[in-house]
């Protein structure tokens, strides 16, 4: 219900929303939680295991009770906390984990079966009969488990990601954070102040108390205004710092448009904030006292009860009781009474507790405890045990509980530090130096009074600024209340039979933890895992210390001996979309396009992925029904007239300097030192571990100038490797390396009429051997300075023409169109693969990182004089033994004419099982020239087995092929066509 004249939100603006399909009205400034309370919506969800009714228990992210689903961008987002959702017009929410309806839920039967469903019951059962687990039990459990339902349609909500840098990050905008930001901001520091609320003030927004002689929330408003005025201070409202990372890096989530109906603005933004210093001013989280039935809707934190009243004018009941072990909760009774709400009793567990000094028109019971709460779908009454031990029933429909406050220290533990126990406040506080550059202040540091928060915050802001060399004055500390705590620890009340809950989301009770201790799960981590305590959405923020206390008592240790479980990021649940939203669709990785990409598309090219590159696979022509027809035609085109191929993605590295020749000689297993200017050489590089890393072609451009053309896939690794060798292993050599890969477009012209095609573009035509095979020359082609490399991957005579990238598209288009006039045309990667296979040229399909020089018939390189990368390790016995599989060719000789890459090789007559495995097919394709499928394979001792038969078995696709082992060069073995 809403209390007239109470609350600090827009009383006159009503905001319609719906829950479970029914329409309600809240007010501008409400959260969904406050609007629900004002509308007497208290039973709003069901718990995880026993499906017990759940309501709102807290004011913010520490909500341990009900979660709801909220409709955004066409689907319901599960597991939302009503208290962190600002109300907006038309908000639609619904309950979770209840079927068929919230009020009548079939699985609420679980509650009756709960004695059978104690901690770890599933470890002890469902083992028999064998196989029943996965077929019967597990599907049942999976269906029952889980809270909300994740819609399977794509998440269409907009998200954003951003970076920010600052001198001082102030985490939390309560009294401590405000003073810290003020101190650091006035000192001229570059400050970010982040707070989850839409307004700064922290607890002050929820309290009736004075700061600096005026209402605390008004004081906060004034300070917020001052901070927003400062150019060097950035106030980030609606922003939660979610994780601490190394060297002052913080992750944060800003709820940019969570409070608005769906629109264009990002729902949330993930910030990566880098800060030189930070102040932890995250406040504290109120903890419960566990007692029988303490999970009923309308039982909530005493501080939350008071906060809903003071800020929103909303109260969850008409007859309210308070149960506490500290002075702070007395304020709840006072505020309620002042507002005219009936307070039936203030039950204080401390025998020596004094009644609130302000007095108040309610019953005060010192030394009494709540033993049990009654009611099913909401609280109806309490059984209390008075100081004399007498039991008494109290009629109440709402209860505020306080077991004290825990500093919200989580971020201070994200880098692995353990929290420190302070017996005087019976709570953990951040350890000093837990996160380099971070200082805790105020309630987050265990100093709970407003006066202490203000003072500590100011000091922390000042010292952060001073640590950065700024001249910082301590701001004047406004007068404020200095009452705090007076707490006497009370973790749970035993005596009644009903379940006393510690984890309201995962349904973990006091007796569950006691049972875990009996079963030897006395370590806090074991307890957590065995009972699932603290593994729900609130991650134990609420009752973690209560659970430890229960465990400590059960195992006869102290709380600090029992220790905390580890706090890990995120502090608050973060949606995957917020961090990863930019990865949707094609956003996951950049696409690399060659200069001729658009032209290729205009010619109908079918594109495929090769690493980050998009490459033309084939260029279909009218009448071609599938890729094979296009591919066969393109192969025939290259072999018969001329083909044009875009090889621009090749790595192209210019190597310069007096020691460039020496360097390449060291880099390659193939000797490069003696390469003459104007000549080219194909070579192989090893990794230092002796396996083949990559192959490439080296052209000598001048005395101290080489060009290394590497494979596309290997280019990035090669760049790192070359730089490592240069900078790390041979820094004394005079070598520079320039990655010129994107500066040059490179077009292959290949086929018997390649020279005619190129000549058609030249003023002075090339002679047949000009340049000779594996030589290059500079020339001007169509008016553009170009490099013409005479080399061939197809086995045909031909060239690779390199022009500056900006001419690449024009050159490719020109060559393609002229080639077409000559009966040729553009060809794609599929045809190139067939052409290179016919010639036995290798790609990464063969060079898979496990291949050695002897495997591919190049053992002679190991005998080469002088040192080169990989030489020493390549001579290890395992890299050259007789058991190794060697490169061979295969062609089918039986009835089955297909060979599939990935098939394994066996001797005919032997079973196709692992023991008889002799190798595998690396690549295969249909050769239109040979009218047969051909394959490159690795076969044990293969080179000595030419002419033998082997069986290629593909179990996955059920293809068995009898093959003849042959030389890996299938076509034009003498290489006569190269000179064509």
């Amino acid at each position: 219900m809403r209390i007239k004249g109470r609350g600090r939100i827009g009383a006159n603006v009503s905001v319609p929303f719906s829950f479970e399909g029914r329409r309600y009205c809240g007010r501008a400034g409400d959260t969904l939680a406050s609007a629900m309370i004002a509308n007497d919506l208290h039973f709003i969800g069901r718990s995880f295991k026993y499906h017990r009714p759940r309501g709102i228990t807290a004011l913010g992210g520490d909500e341990a009770g009900a979660l709801v689903a909220i409709r955004r961008f066409g689907a319901f987002i599960p597991n939302q906390r009503p208290a962190t959702q600002e109300l907006f017009e038309g908000l639609e929410a619904r309950a979770e984990n209840a079927w068929p309806a919230l009020g009548l839920d079939v699985l609420a039967l679980n509650d009756l079966l709960s004695p059978l469903m104690g901690p770890g019951f599933y470890y002890k059962s469902f083992k028999w009969p064998r196989g029943a687990w996965e077929r019967v039990w597990e599907p049942l459990i999976r269906r029952a488990a889980g809270l909300g339902r994740l819609p399977v349609c794509p998440d269409e909500a907009p998200y954003d990601q951003a970076f920010a840098h600052c001198d001082v990050l102030v985490i939390g905008g309560g009294p401590a954070g405000l003073m810290a930001a003020l101190a650091a901001g006035r000192a001229g520091g570059d400050v970010i102040l982040a707070d989850p609320d839409r307004r700064l003030g922290g607890r002050l927004l929820f309290e009736e108390e004075e700061v600096g002689g005026r209402a605390g929330h008004e004081w906060a408003r004034a300070i917020e205004a001052e901070l927003r005025e400062m150019e060097n201070v950035r106030v980030m409202a609606r922003t939660t710092i979610t994780g601490a990372y190394d060297q002052g890096t913080w992750s944060a989530v800003e709820k940019v448009a969570h409070h608005l109906p769906d629109g264009d603005a990002p729902l949330e933004c993930h910030w990566r904030i880098v800060a030189k210093r930070a102040v932890l001013a995250t406040g504290a989280i109120e903890r419960p006292v566990a007692f029988a039935g303490n999970d009923r809707p309308r039982i909530m934190q005493a501080g939350a009860l008071r906060g809903y009243l003071n800020r929103y004018g909303a109260v969850a009941g008409r007859r309210v009781a308070i149960f506490a072990n500290n002075d702070d909760a007395h304020r709840t009774a006072r505020d309620l009474a002042t507002a005219g709400v009936e307070v039936v009793a203030l039950i204080d567990a401390r025998a020596d507790a004094a009644p609130p000094p302000e007095g108040g028109d309610f019953r005060f019971l010192a030394g009494a405890v709540v033993e049990a709460a009654h009611g099913r779908k909401g609280l109806t009454g309490l059984t209390i045990r008075t100081a004399s031990g007498a039991r008494e029933r109290i009629e109440a429909d709402c209860l505020g509980v306080s077991g004290g406050w825990n500093p919200a220290l989580h971020l201070s533990c994200h880098l692995g530090a353990r929290a420190r126990w302070r017996a005087d406040i019976a709570a953990f506080v951040p350890a000093a130096g837990a996160v380099p550059g971070l200082e805790a202040a105020g309630a987050a540091n265990g100093s709970f009074s407003t006066a202490a928060c203000l003072a500590e915050g100011a000091a922390a802001g000042q010292s952060a600024a001073q640590a950065l060399g700024l001249k910082a004055e301590l701001p004047e500390i406004p007068a404020a209340g200095d009452r705090a705590g007076g707490l006497k620890p009370l973790w749970q009340v035993s005596g009644a039979r009903a379940k006393a809950f510690l984890d309201l989301q995962n349904d973990v009770t006091v007796s569950d933890i006691q049972q875990a201790a009996r079963e030897g799960m006395g370590e806090s981590e074991h307890m957590k895992r065995y009972t699932t305590f603290g593994m729900g959405p609130d991650q134990g923020k609420n009752s973690g210390v209560n659970a430890l206390a229960v465990l400590a008592e059960a195992t006869g240790r102290s709380i600090p001996e029992t220790g905390t479980t580890t706090f890990r990021p995120p502090f608050d649940p973060v949606s995957i979309g917020t961090i990863g939203g930019a990865g949707r669709g094609a956003g996951f990785a950049p696409e690399r396009h060659t200069p001729a990409h658009e032209y290729a598309l205009s010619r109908g090219a079918v594109m495929g992925d090769a690493g980050l590159w998009k490459r033309a696979l084939w260029f279909p022509r009218a009448g071609e029904g599938n890729w094979r027809q296009s591919c066969d035609r393109e192969v025939a085109m290259v072999r018969g007239s001329v083909g044009v191929f875009d090889a621009s993605p090749l790595g192209k590295f210019e190597v310069l300097g007096a020691d460039a020749a020496r360097f390449l000689d060291f880099l390659f297993a193939t000797p490069m030192r003696a390469l003459k200017v104007g000549r080219m050489r194909w070579g192989v590089m090893l990794r230092e571990d002796g396996h083949v890393m990559d192959d490439g072609v080296v052209a000598r451009m001048g005395r101290g100038h080489f060009l290394v053309m590497s494979t596309t896939a290997g280019a990035q690794d090669l760049w790192r490797h070359m730089q490592f060798v240069r900078q790390g292993l041979r820094p004394e050599w005079d070598v520079e390396i320039v990655d010129a890969g994107e500066q040059w477009a490179q077009i292959v012209v290949s086929g018997p009429r390649a020279r005619d095609l190129v000549n058609s573009l030249l003023r002075r035509p090339l002679a047949p051997d000009q340049p000779a095979h594996m030589a290059w020359k500079a020339l001007t082609i169509a008016g553009v300075a170009a490099r013409l490399f005479r080399t061939s991957f197809t086995g045909e005579a031909g060239y690779e023409i390199a022009v500056p990238a900006r001419y690449g598209a024009a050159l490719f288009a020109l060559l393609t169109e002229r080639a077409e006039a000559m009966g040729g045309g553009a060809f794609g990667l599929e045809a190139m693969n067939v052409l290179r296979l016919e010639k036995g040229h290798l790609t990464h399909a063969e060079l898979d990182g496990r291949v050695t020089l002897p495997d591919i018939g190049l053992s002679r390189l190991l005998a080469r004089k002088g040192d080169f990368i990989g030489k020493a390790a390549a001579r290890r016995p395992g890299l050259m033994g007789p058991d190794r599989a060697e490169l061979v060719g295969l062609r089918p000789v039986g009835a089955v004419k297909q060979i599939l890459p990935g098939a394994h090789l066996f001797r005919p007559g032997l079973l196709a099982v692992a023991e008889n495995d002799e190798g595998h097919v690396a690549s295969a394709a249909y050769s239109p020239m040979l009218k047969s499928v051909i394959a490159l394979a690795f076969l044990r001792g293969g080179r000595a087995r030419l002419g033998e038969h082997v069986r290629a078995s593909d179990h996955l696709r059920h293809v068995e092929t009898l093959c003849e082992v042959c030389d890996p060069v299938f076509f034009d073995p003498e290489g006569e066509r190269l000179h064509g």
């Binding site: 990372y245 190394d246 060297q247 002052g248 890096t249 990566r272 880098v274 880098l415 692995g416 380099p436 230092e688 571990d689 790192r720 730089q723 490592f724 900078q727 790390g728 292993l729 820094p731 040192d867 030489k871 020493a872 390790a873 290890r876």
Partner: protein, 87 residues
């Protein structure tokens, strides 16, 4: 994690590629024998504490750096160019 590149200043670790222990700089002589090469290629001190590691400032200046850092606390002490560092 942030690294102070001696050439570019402090940068986020996402700009770097990590190769492994700085021992990669101590390449044995070609005839040092299998034991030495085995040690170079594979065996690592793998300390829980201060270590020296090779980082390539790939999205920055392209320098290979030897980064002195702590494998337990993730503190970063220093980064120097590989060509000045030695193994």
């Amino acid at each position: 994690m942030r690294i102070r590149c001696p050439l570019c200043g402090e940068r986020d670790s996402r700009e770097f590629h990590v190769m492994g222990a700085a021992e990669w700089l101590a390449r044995p002589a070609p005839d040092a024998g299998l034991e030495a090469w085995d040690a170079y290629l594979h065996l690592r001190d793998n300390p829980a504490g201060p270590t020296r590691e090779l980082w390539f400032h790939e999205a920055g200046c392209g320098a290979w750096l030897v980064v002195a850092r702590d494998t337990v606390s993730h503190a970063v002490f220093e980064a120097v160019p590989a060509w000045e560092a030695g193994a």
